[in-house]
Symmetry: C2
Subunit: 189 residues, 2 copies
């Protein structure tokens, strides 16, 4: 456990995305991912339970970023202002490398039911986290659920556009998506 493995987790994620895109998800083994990362299979299993998980390594980090960002909003912020603060904080943490992973991640996840399932679960986890923060701040249960859902939808739509090469920044794109979704929600008849 105490072995010196700088950035082991990141290297495993990088190796997994590269290999799944190059040679397919099914035909890649954990041993190959570890080898590409210059690590052992045992090290892989210290970081991830199976070959699916490197693709969702950001789940807890993203949930924490959204929650931390929401906490930065003033006490009297509206639910939508809280969601905006969450998005601003979370999107600012993304790196150019993560942006470049986008198209490959989408291609791999979109063609495997077990990965689409896992992605749906990650999404539900992010939405649940944000909704809980909003309820703690006093939002009604339905309001918290909807605001969280729009926020996580904007988080994903913004990422897709950003990773497709749209600028200027992930944060701006996520805010734009949130405005679009909010306008549609308030106009719904």
């Amino acid at each position: 456990m105490a072995r010196w493995e700088p950035d082991a987790r990141l290297r495993l994620v990088r190796a997994a995305i590269d290999l799944y895109a190059e040679q397919g998800y099914e035909s890649t083994t954990v041993a190959q991912v570890a080898e590409r990362a210059g690590l052992t299979k045992a090290t892989f299993f210290r970081h991830f339970p199976d070959k699916r998980e490197p693709l969702f390594a950001g789940q807890e980090e993203h949930a924490a970023l959204l929650a931390d960002g929401a906490a930065l909003a003033p006490d009297d912020a509206s639910p939508l202002e809280v969601v905006t603060a969450a998005l601003d904080h979370a999107t600012a943490a993304f790196t150019a490398e993560q942006r470049d992973w986008g198209p490959r991640l989408r291609a791999v996840v979109g063609t495997h039911d077990e990965l689409r399932e896992r992605a749906a679960f990650k999404r539900a986890h992010l939405t649940g986290t944000l909704a809980a923060v909003l309820r703690d701040r006093g939002a009604g249960e339905a309001t918290a659920a909807i605001a969280a859902d729009l926020g996580v939808e904007a988080f994903h739509r913004g990422f897709d556009r950003w990773s497709d090469g749209e600028g200027p920044s992930y944060g701006d794109l996520a805010r734009e998506e949130l405005r679009t979704l909010h306008a549609a929600a308030t106009a719904l008849r």
Copy 2:
């Protein structure tokens, strides 16, 4: 394939829910589910790929019910009216036995990540189906996404309340949940 197995699918679902609730999901085998249903393991595998799937047997049926119900709405119906028609049609198809499964299903699914994942995927599938119907009817993309999401949320919330013994009908509870969610969406600030 042509063997006479009346209601085999339903019997397998019933046996799975009973056994998972009685003795736990992990400790139940496919062979036990088949035996409880009075069927063979081979028959189980003709209907389901693994022991998880009987719990989500309704996925395609529910998606079809929502889509068929949406198609019953008049051409000039608003997105919310389309969603209401979808809910009315889908909820009317539920049986008292399905209602009684609710609490056991929730208890089993809620305590196993692999089942919660699968449930999140089913939910995404229902939402995607309803959103596609709404887009086909001319709703904007964001409007379709939000209306579908509120509809599927109401479908689940209504079911939870109905299966907890609230009356009078699943349809009425789903409509009530949809009204609550819609009010929260249009008031979101």
